[in-house]
Amino acid sequence: MGFLATIGRYFIGALAEIGRVSRFSYEAVTHIVRPPLYYPLIGRQMLSIGYFSLPVVGLTAIFTGAALAQQIFVGTARFNAEATVAGIVVIAIVRELGPVLGGLMVAGRVSSAMAAEIGTMRVSEQIDALVTLSTNPYKYLIVPRLIAAVITLPLLVIVANIIGVFGGFLVGTQKLGFNAANYLQVTMDFLEASDIYSALVKAAVFGFIIALMGTYHGFHSRGGAAGVGAATTNAVVTAFILILLANLIITINVFGS
């Protein structure tokens, strides 16, 4: 009995949380479509989300691409299909690993930073102060971050994809003995436009998730420094899970064929 009650409580709690997140994102989106938009703030967020994430996203991509080429070589060698290594690398990177790993790395960096910054503003009454200065906190804090993340993530993922493929190219040509021109040719032959759309759509969705979780948890944090800490953790954890879930849904339903 106690066990069922616990499950029930969690279930109801989760539903209530989904309701709150939905209301929050509805409110935010209504402010996106109603002027004014604060363009300088969007620009600043794009810089901090995009430009400053380049090193971590780039490193992730090159290491992953390189390791992937090696692994796929081992796998394909078992049935003499080594010639397809370049093609499998590019598809795996562009369709899956570039967006997902890029999204996760940015979530770790950005969701946490957003939650910490906005959470601190909440507990030190800066958000209340915004209201008394006739500035809507959604317009000033939430909307610029959402817009910036949705625009920036696809750009970051394009960079991640290129660097990831390059990582595979390095291992392929330097260690596995592929001819450089041939490797690139196979890469281009395998890659289709739909792979790139898939990457961009995923990236935009992940960008929304990252900014939504960061701002939502920050905005609703309470209880001083410990509360901000909890908000930061929750922002990253929920962003990770939602990114992986959204990735699965998009992969199967939208780009499954």
């Binding site: 030190s124 800066q126 209340d128 102060a129 209201v131 008394t132 200065l133 500035t135």
Partner: protein
């Protein structure tokens, strides 16, 4: 014939998860009046101000501004009200990502559409009025002392010459001389700008200097209110104890581990 009060609070209830704080509070503030609310720590003075500003939703009761219930009004009316309001938060609530002058100029630029350069000039003038030199203007809030933060927050609250100003403990953390300067400034706001002010304070010298009227909050209600003169002569034992700052009397402070 009585005029409509600028701010009228009727039967205000507000509590937090089993902790009732305000229990049917009534208070009227007339236009151009400086009202001071005194009361023990944790009696809900800051909560009262946040309810008036709409930053917290009351559990019950009405708050009328110029006779209109703001919470139940259209958004445009609430926006209008906010543009006429200044608020000094107890903790300052300065934006720590912005410089001092950007903090002070924030409302001027965002709510009143003032150009950046003009707003900066006003900000520097307001900073001078709270005793801060121009070279402070480009610092960040984390580079300021506690008392300086308070004064920047004060400059921000009065920057747009608001009609209604709330001061939550304006002199706490200031030296006595600066406290007197700030008290003078608050009096000026009322006299020169004709503002209506509600000030929360524990500082009796503040009360004597700025209050037209005083009100005492205790156990969730305004248990006494009257003019400054009446405050000095009242027989109300709660007020007398508070004014005298005595541990003996009807107000019992809950001390952890106490008897």
């Amino acid at each position: 014939m009585s005029k409509t009060p600028k701010i009228s609070i009727k039967g205000l209830y507000k509590g937090f998860a089993g902790n009732p704080v305000l229990k049917g509070l009534d208070l009227d503030i007339m236009a151009g009046e400086s009202v001071v609310v005194i009361g023990g720590s944790g009696t809900g003075k800051s909560v009262l101000v946040k309810c008036i500003l709409g930053l917290m939703a009351p559990d019950a009761g009405e708050i009328l501004i110029d006779g209109k219930n703001i919470a139940a009004s259209a958004k445009s009316l609430r926006d209008e009200f906010m543009k006429k309001v200044g608020m000094l938060f107890q903790g300052g609530a300065l934006f720590d990502s912005l410089s001092v002058w950007e903090n002070v100029a924030f409302g001027l630029i965002r709510a009143h559409g003032m150009a950046k350069e003009a707003a900066r000039e006003v900000a520097i003038e307001k900073l001078a009025r709270v005793g801060l030199a121009e070279d402070v203007a480009t610092l960040r809030p984390d580079e300021l002392s506690g008392g300086m933060k308070k004064r920047v927050a004060l400059a921000r609250a009065i920057a747009a010459n608001p009609e209604i100003i709330f001061f939550d403990e304006p002199t706490t953390g200031l030296d006595p001389i600066m406290a007197d300067v700030i008290n003078g400034l608050i009096t000026e706001c009322v006299k020169d700008l004709g503002a209506t002010t509600l000030t929360i304070t524990h500082d009796m010298s503040s009360v004597h200097k700025i209050a037209d009227k005083a009100a005492m909050l205790h156990a969730g209600k305004i248990i006494w209110h009257g003019s400054r003169k009446e405050l000095a002569n009242t027989k109300n034992p709660f007020v007398r104890q508070f004014v005298a700052g005595s541990a003996d009397g009807p107000i019992k402070m809950a001390l952890a581990g106490g008897v």
